[in-house]
Symmetry: C2
Subunit: 143 residues, 2 copies
């Protein structure tokens, strides 16, 4: 397979295939006649694996570590389980944060119903945002 064929098979941008190749996630052979890269079924597996892992929140570096371990005939799965657990905790944190943000946005939106737009007057930029309560501790002002 050539670049675009591989990319199409995996549903990614051809440049992503080239990028992953540069980054060492894919290891195609060369056609000496025209210097084209040649990818095989194994590369397709690696690419699909990489995309799935990325969806799960694994970083490219982690993906490469896993693939390298697989190349060395070590079982990469303990590594996968480990990073997966961490990622799961992260996802839970992200959900919590987003839900809090969502709640604050809804509250703000409701409060804004009653507020006039108002042209900035030198003391305020836009009440809508300035009156947003972000729970951030405000430090001392000294001018």
């Amino acid at each position: 397979m050539k670049v675009k064929e591989l990319a199409t098979s995996a549903g990614v941008n051809p440049d992503t295939v080239r990028f992953y190749t540069r980054e060492g996630l894919l290891k195609p052979s060369r056609n000496p006649d025209n210097n084209y890269q040649h990818y095989d079924a194994e590369d397709l597996r690696r690419l699909r694996f990489a995309r799935k892992a990325r969806q799960l929140g694994f970083s490219l570096i982690e993906v490469r570590q896993i693939l390298d371990q697989a190349d060395d005939h070590h079982s990469p799965c303990p590594l996968v389980r480990d990073v997966f657990q961490q990622r799961l905790a992260e996802v839970e944190r992200e959900i919590n944060e987003l839900q809090q943000l969502h709640k604050r946005m809804k509250t703000a939106l409701a409060a804004w119903q009653d507020m006039p737009d108002g042209t900035p007057d030198g003391h305020t930029i836009c009440r809508l945002i300035e009156h947003w309560d972000d729970n951030t501790p405000v430090k001392q002002v000294e001018e």
Copy 2:
């Protein structure tokens, strides 16, 4: 105020103040004696506004648009309301996606209990991830 004072007052990194100044969000005056930037209370308001807007998911470009409108003595709030609505919808999308991801991760984790680690054998890299169902349509393979 000098850079660090402003940064401390707003609870941000001094480099962020310099960065925002470069990007035109802050417009300090110069001390001709030593070429230092001089920030006033208005800059502090702008900086705090910018940080709050960033927390709400506004991009730096949007923040600058709002601040520029405020400089032109137009009311920026209709713009704020508009972008805010869009951002709210985005947050809801993100929450949904993350919740689906979370559910799939939990399911996968449960399924993995029964799977052996297994060294890669040339046909599979790591069953744990390859058996992950991502609902992604898989295209035709041609080698």
